[in-house]
Structure formats: C-alpha cells, structure tokens
C-alpha cells in the first residue's frame, strides 16, 4: 500500500506550485534505479570475504607522518592523467542503451541547427556551410555516402561522440559503430538541406574545429 503511494504521480496543482513536472513511469523507474545504485554502492567496496581472509597482523607500530595538507591543495586542481585512467568514454553501456533514447537528442540538435542558421536555406548555401564548419554534430543523423572502404558505405546512425580521427555512431539496430573519418564522405541532412562532409578534411578534435580556421588544401576528393 505504501509502495503505491510512493510511486503515485504528484497531483497537478501541487506540481504547479512546486514548479515540478512529474515524469512518465518508465523514466521515473529508470531514475530511481540509477539513484539507488549510486547511493548504495558502498558494500561492494568492502568485500567481506577478502576482508576476512586477508587479515593484517601488526608487528610494529609507527605513526605515519601526515604531510599531505600542502600537497593536496595543488592536487585538487590537477586533472589530466588521472581522468584518462578513469576512462571517459563509455564502454559497455550501448548494449544497455537503445537507439530510441537518443531521439530526443536528435530533436535538440535539429533545433540547435535551425537556430544557428536562423532560417533554413536562405538561398545561400554558402552561408549555411560556413556555419556548419563550426557547428557541433553530436546528435546528428549521419550517413556514409562514399568511402574507400566499401563496407562503410550506407551506414546510418546518430553521432554519439566525435574524436580526433573517428566518429562513433549508434545505428538503429542498437549497435555502436566506430567509423574513421579519413577517406569517407558523410552526409548530413537538415530539413531537406543536404550537405556532404569530406571526412579527410575534418580530422580535428571536435573542440579544435570550432577554434581553427579552415584552409583549402589539396583536392577535394576521397
């Protein structure tokens, strides 16, 4: 009985007063699961068996010097090597994650692009392309049109991550595919405006592309 009370949705007027919107059941469940998992992860650290089997016997006792106070203040800001150890990219989750979950992201991307170009196809595709060079493609639906490696051609999916030399996309079959940028031509479609991207020229980290200017170098081909 109490469980049903906990899981009931907040009544509308109360929701308005608080400024909160109650979520759909599936989302609320997903959220609760993740929240519980996050909060109760303590016991896995203290593995009882290993704790009981490896018992340390203290022979002599010396007090360790606590000199860490000065060092800590510098280390709190130190970032890099440690994060790369705790790998930032997701690994096994995509089996966990489905294509449908990324559709709202795609909707958000579309709004962003429409906003960026401020009106679709204003008779000057040059203008739109200039903006696209500096735009962000996370969440776009990307298709491989031509490529030196024929097995890549025809792959479609939502771009999830963009690295220096590869794109990571998730296809409709919920598979995470890694596509190298070099020697491939990608196609992005926005409301009827199709644009082709030459991957070989795009070999920069996503953030660097926004910062750097593009030079026309070499022939534009596969």
């Amino acid at each position: 009985m109490e469980e049903a009370l906990v899981r009931a949705a907040i009544p509308r007027d109360l929701g308005k007063v608080l400024g909160v919107e109650s979520q759909t059941k599936s989302k609320a469940e997903a959220f609760t699961q993740a929240f519980l998992k996050n909060s109760i992860h303590q016991p896995t650290r203290h593995d009882l068996k290993s704790m009981l089997s490896h018992k340390a016997v203290i022979l002599g006792y010396t007090r360790p010097k606590k000199d860490k106070s000065k060092r800590n203040s510098k280390r709190a800001k130190g970032l890099n090597a440690r994060q790369k150890r705790e790998i930032k990219v997701f690994q096994i989750k995509p089996e966990h994650q489905r294509y449908e979950l990324f559709l709202p992201l795609h909707g958000l991307w579309r709004q962003y692009i429409i906003d960026l170009c401020s009106g679709l196809k204003p008779t000057s595709p040059q203008f739109v392309q200039q903006k696209l060079l500096k735009a962000d493609f996370h969440g776009a639906i990307i298709t491989v049109v031509r490529s030196k490696c024929p097995s890549y051609v025809g792959m479609t999916g939502i771009l999830v991550q963009e690295f220096k030399h590869v794109f990571k996309i998730i296809t409709k079959e919920d598979k995470l595919k890694v596509i190298p940028k070099r020697n491939s031509i990608f196609e992005v479609e926005i409301n009827g405006f199709i644009s082709h991207i030459y991957g070989s020229k795009f070999e920069q980290r996503a953030s660097e592309r926004s910062a750097k200017k593009f030079k026309v170098r070499g022939t534009i081909d596969l």
């Binding site: 919107e21 997903a30 709202p104 958000l108 991307w109 962003y112 996370h138 953030s207």
Partner: protein, 169 residues
C-alpha cells in the same frame, strides 16, 4: 561588435552541448561518461577561444572530472556552518569526489549582475530552483530548450539572481 559575432556561434555550440549533456542524463541516468564527454568538449571550446562563462553555468560543472553536477543525480549537496554567521554549501561530485564550496551570502552581487558590466538591456532573471529542475524533463526539454537557448544565448550577459542566495533558501 564583429568579435562578438564570431563568438556567438561558439556560445551557441557550448550552450547546445550543455543542454545535450542534461538531455542524455535525463534519458539514461546511469551513463555518466557521455555527459562528461559533452561537458569536457564544452570546456575545451571555452578554453581554446578564451570565452567567459556565466558563473551559474560554471558552478554546475565539476572542475576536476568535467561532469555536470545535478544535485541528486550526480552530486550531493550539503550545508555546513563555520561561525554563527557564515554558512557554506558544499557540493560533492559523486564520480570523482571533488567537493565544491560556495559561500551563502545573500547580499553578494556577481560581477556580471552589476550595472556597470551590463552592456545590453537586462533580461528577466531565471529563478534558481526551476532552472535546476529543467534537466529532468525530457519532453518539455524539447520545447523549453528553445526558450532556454534564447535566454542563455549570451551566456556572459545573462542576468540571474546570485544563486548562492537561492541555495540558502
């Protein structure tokens, strides 16, 4: 003014990445790495182009691991007291354990909010709590994001109440 225009695209991109991180987290609260990736990209863009961000945005990003800090989902928020007067809000990032201390001073006015820093006309202040509840709504995220995109467009010029005051409430 031309300099401002060039940065506008970068600001839009950073803003989009921030919203995308929240959107992804709302869809699947378990995967934090993708949200962290987006926020990392956002911070790299800001660092490359040396762009100023609004403190309200900077406060919700962990400085160490660059994950978005959402109280309840990715971070814990606690209140502590030093003397009788000063009280702190301590936010701890759950993934890297980095804690962030903010002083609760309702009279404190951020530099951005002061009239001498405002070059354009002032916009409506967003109340703190509803801005925080926004990321959890994926459906209204689609419609609200366009509004919030318009309002957070110039992140530097955005006027907000000092969020330290809101946290004390």
């Amino acid at each position: 003014m031309a300099g401002q225009l060039k940065d506008k695209e970068a600001y839009q991109r950073m803003n989009y990445l921030y919203q995308a991180a929240h959107c992804v987290l709302s869809q699947n609260p378990e995967n934090m790495e993708l949200a962290r990736f987006y926020c990392f990209t956002q911070r790299t863009i800001a660092r490359r182009l040396v762009l100023r961000q609004d403190p309200s945005v900077k406060r919700t990003l962990c400085k160490k691991c660059c994950s978005p800090l959402i109280p309840g989902v990715t971070a814990t928020t606690r209140q502590r007291r030093k003397n009788r007067k000063t009280s702190f809000t301590v936010m701890r990032c759950l993934s890297c354990g980095q804690s962030k201390t903010l002083l609760n001073n309702p009279d404190y006015c951020l530099w951005v909010d002061r009239p001498e820093a405002q070059l354009e006309q002032q916009k409506q202040p967003d109340p703190g709590p509803s801005a925080k509840k926004q990321p959890k709504n994926p459906k209204s995220g689609g419609s609200a994001s366009s509004q919030s995109a318009a309002s957070t467009q110039q992140q530097r010029k955005q006027k907000q109440q000092p969020s330290s005051g809101n946290k004390k409430d």
